[in-house]
Symmetry: C2
C-alpha cells in the first residue's frame, strides 16, 4: 500500500513543475496533491473523482467580510494557465476537499466501513456555513500562509463563542498545510496555543502562519488569529511538524 | 443577561449540596450545571429542556472496549439517591448535551439564527459513532478526570487517523470540564500538546487529566491520551485555565 502511494506521489512529481509540487502527504497535504493533479488534467489513474466539491470556493453562507477578503487575495492569485505560465502572482489559493487520498486501504486496524465513510474533520458537515468555512492562500515564496475563516454555529464552546478545540483545529489545519507546502510529508509534533480573546460564533477572522525555521526533519511555524482588520488578537500559536516516512503512517 | 445568569447560578448553588455544585460556566461547565439541576428535578424555570438527549450514555455504535470501560467506571459511580445518600463511590459520570445554556441572547454580535442553531462543537453530529463518542468521569476528590473516547470516521486528519485538531478538541473538553469542576467559570488560556503517536480512526482511547495546581484565578491541568490498556502513549498535554467574570463573556 505504501508502495502504491509512493508511485502515485512519484507520478505526480514527475509531471508537475510548480513550486507547490513537492512530495507531501499529511492533513491537507493530500488535498494539495489532489488539487495539483486535478488542475493539470492528468490522465493517470487518480484515487479521487475530478468532480469532487472544492469546499474553499465561495458559497451563499459567506458573509460580506469573508467575500471581500476572498476577493482581495484571490485577485492576487495565479491565473488559470492557458498556454504560457503567468508569473506575476503573489498568492496561490489552495483548494480543499472532504476526503484524504483513499490509499489507507490495507491497514490492519481500519475497517472497510470506516475507510469508505471517512471524511476530513474540517469538512465533515455539508451544510454551508454551519461549521468551518475557510479558504487558504499561500504566498509565492511559501514563507506565509493566510486563511480566511468564518466560524459557523455548530462550533460552539463557551456560550456564543467558538470552542477552543475548533480554533486549535483551524490552527493545526493552516500550519499543517503550510508545513506540507514547505516540506516532505509531515505529522504534527507539537501545538502550543495561547488563547487571548474569545471568537464570537458567526464571525470571520484571519489566520496567518509564518515559517520560523526548518531544521533537519523539523518545521517550526508560528501562527496568529486576528480580527479581519488585524486590530484584535484572538489567538497566538506555534506549531512543530516532523517529516515522516509514509509507510509508518500506513502501517505497512 | 449576565445578571440573569448569575441569578440562575445562584439559585442552583443554594439548593445543591454535592461537591460538584460550585459555580461554573465554561465549555462543558454549563453541562454540569444543567445536569445537576435536571437530576434534582428543580422547579425553577430552567433554560433547557429536561428531555434533552444525554450523549454520554451508551449507544449501538459503541465498540466492546468503549462499553467495557464504561461499565468499569460506571460501576464505581454514585448510585441514584433514593432516600439516604450513598457515600462509597469513587467516580461520578458527567452527562453531556449538545447545547450550552441558552443565555447568550443579548449579545450585539450574535444573530438570532445563530443563537437558535448553535450546538456544542463536540456534539454537533447526531449520527451515533460518526464523530466524537465520549463519556467523562470525575474522581470523588476531583483531582482526576477520565474520558473514554471512541473516534468516529468523520474525524479524519492524516489518512486513516484522527485529526490533530480533533485530539486537541477532546483534550480541551476533558481538561476544561475538569477545571470547571474544580473552579469558578473558566476560559482556556493555553493548550500545549505533544503528539507522540497517531490515533487510528475507529479506535478507543483513554484521556486522563490530573490537577497540577491552582494559583489565584489560574488552574493548571496535565493530560495524557493512551491506548485503553495504557501501554501506548498517543498524546501528552498541559492546559491552563483562568477564572473569568461571566459578564465579560456575554458582553454585558
Amino acid at each position: 500500500m505504501a508502495r502504491t502511494l509512493c508511485r502515485i506521489f512519484k507520478g505526480c512529481q514527475s509531471i508537475c513543475s510548480l513550486p507547490l509540487m513537492k512530495t507531501r502527504l499529511h492533513p491537507s497535504a493530500s488535498v494539495l496533491l489532489r488539487t495539483v493533479c486535478v488542475r493539470r488534467m492528468l490522465t493517470l489513474p487518480l484515487p479521487f473523482s475530478p468532480k469532487a466539491r472544492d469546499f474553499s470556493l465561495p458559497n451563499s453562507s459567506w458573509g460580506a467580510e469573508m467575500r471581500q477578503l476572498y476577493e482581495h487575495y484571490n485577485s492576487q492569485c495565479e491565473e488559470e494557465m492557458k498556454g504560457e505560465e503567468k508569473q506575476d502572482w503573489a498568492w496561490k489559493r489552495l483548494p480543499s476537499y472532504n476526503r484524504s487520498l483513499k490509499y489507507a486501504t490495507g491497514g490492519v486496524y481500519l475497517s472497510k466501513i470506516i475507510q469508505s465513510k471517512a471524511r476530513l474533520f474540517t469538512r465533515n458537515i455539508k451544510e454551508p456555513g454551519a461549521a468551518f468555512e475557510y479558504v487558504l492562500f499561500v504566498s509565492k515564496d511559501e514563507q506565509k500562509c493566510v486563511c480566511i475563516f468564518q466560524a459557523g454555529h455548530l462550533l460552539e464552546g463557551p456560550p456564543g463563542h467558538v470552542h477552543g478545540g475548533a480554533i486549535a483545529t483551524m490552527i493545526d489545519t493552516v500550519t499543517g498545510t503550510h508545513a506540507s507546502v514547505l516540506s516532505a510529508p509531515v505529522m504534527t509534533a507539537n501545538l502550543n496555543i495561547n488563547y487571548r480573546r474569545p471568537i464570537p460564533l458567526g464571525s470571520t477572522v484571519l489566520i496567518e502562519s509564518s515559517l520560523n525555521k526548518t531544521e533537519g526533519r523539523k518545521v517550526l511555524i508560528s501562527c496568529k488569529v486576528t480580527s479581519t482588520d488585524g486590530s484584535k488578537l484572538h489567538t497566538e500559536a506555534t506549531a512543530l511538524f516532523v517529516a515522516i516516512n509514509v509507510s509508518h503512517l500506513l502501517g505497512g
